[in-house]
Symmetry: C2
């Protein structure tokens, strides 16, 4: 498996043809490659910039539930089901005075980019759109998959048997998140390389667009941590649990 | 960046010289390579097998706090500071009737393996020992780093400036976890490939062993999610918060 950064992409602007830019910078894309794209440039192409003074309102509009707060920091569940600081609203790598929202529907963005790359280059790739997220209990941020097309997002090994004959009951691997994390190691943050190509995972690339990154969002009723701690406390105080 | 599985390792047994086995199977290791090792084979070499009927007692002994429970499943904080289902006690890929505990001190195991590889092959590699973990809010498991030697576990970009002149205030990347996740894509689960070599990240490989994976464990006082929901509820009920 190899991961290469795609160099030479211009600064992306609202209305840009992202597939055309990527195809020009990575003309050697092949069937089975996974094209990993930082959500920031997808948002820019989609014109998801707002003025910085509207930042708090924008965060509120993207939020369906506040999971935790510290000072002015809000960790929230977004419309997409993602749990992110500031709802993923981002002030880095954008012009001063502006902030960038996540794509409206990252799975739809991934599907469109995949179709456009197929049209431009005649190749069947997968597309993963990433954002950067913190985690409870662990220091540091990692990239995760927020939009997926043409890739099995969860590799389900349940029912398989290990060499000792034990069945693998709990092993469903979030391969799309692992691909997002792997690509971040190459894309970096200040290097200005927002796209990477992962080669060698063709067994995970599918004909159909598939269920997308939506499949990676755990349903609240299945989640032991669906409520943040403050919310759990508030519910207990309010007598609702 | 490339990631290759190390093939041809024998089944590891208590007392085995893991560095010797890896060196024999991967004689082409180079300075700057990151050797990613599934904790399972480290535990096996260290003789961390117990009888399956002692499993619940073993989980209790590895636990410093219960974070959440569902039925008989316990998600706990381990002695190492990791939050893992069943304290990382594992019944897959071991002989029936036995279960495997995590290494006693995975950072120490990583340092020893790194030193032994240097002695065997004369190369300065980094070593990352991995385990598989679930996440709140996300479906599927990903590999994380539980032992690290010779690698910057957290790549701190704070203070750097993006091309627009914005300072990157929140960007500390958990590169050791991203490397663990990336390597899992190659190692797989049933393929019997418990070691992978990541080449191309030499800028993260250090002369000193460094702070290890302990640096990836967020201190409880810094953590908005240090208590699980059930514990938050219990504390509120008990009037301790």
């Amino acid at each position: 498996m190899s991961i290469s950064g795609v160099h030479g992409l211009p600064d992306v602007r609202p209305g840009d043809d992202l597939a055309g830019l990527i195809a020009a910078a990575a003309p050697d894309l092949r069937d089975g490659d996974v094209v990993v794209v930082t959500s920031k440039i997808v948002s820019k192409a989609e014109g998801r910039l707002v003025q910085a003074q509207s930042r708090e309102d924008a965060i509120t509009a993207e939020t369906v539930a506040v999971v935790a707060t510290r000072g002015s920091l809000r960790i929230v569940r977004t419309r997409h089901g993602l749990v992110l600081a500031a709802a993923g609203v981002d002030a880095s790598n954008v012009a001063p005075g502006t902030v960038l929202l996540l794509p409206v529907d990252p799975d739809a963005s991934a599907r469109a980019l995949r179709a456009d790359l197929a049209r431009e280059l005649g190749v069947r790739t997968a597309v993963v759109i990433t954002d950067t997220a913190g985690r409870p209990w662990r220091e540091g941020l990692v990239d995760i998959a927020i939009g997926v097309a043409g890739l099995t997002p969860l590799d389900d090994l349940r029912g398989q048997v290990d060499p000792y004959g034990n069945s693998l009951e709990m092993t469903v691997t979030a391969v799309a998140d692992e691909i997002a994390a792997a690509a971040e190691l190459v894309k970096g943050k200040t290097a200005g390389v927002p796209v990477a190509v992962v080669r060698g995972l063709g067994h995970l690339v599918t004909e159909a667009d598939g269920p997308g990154a939506a499949a990676l969002v755990r349903r609240a009723e299945d989640d032991l941590f669906s409520l943040g701690v403050a919310e759990a406390q508030a519910q207990v105080r309010g007598g609702t649990t």
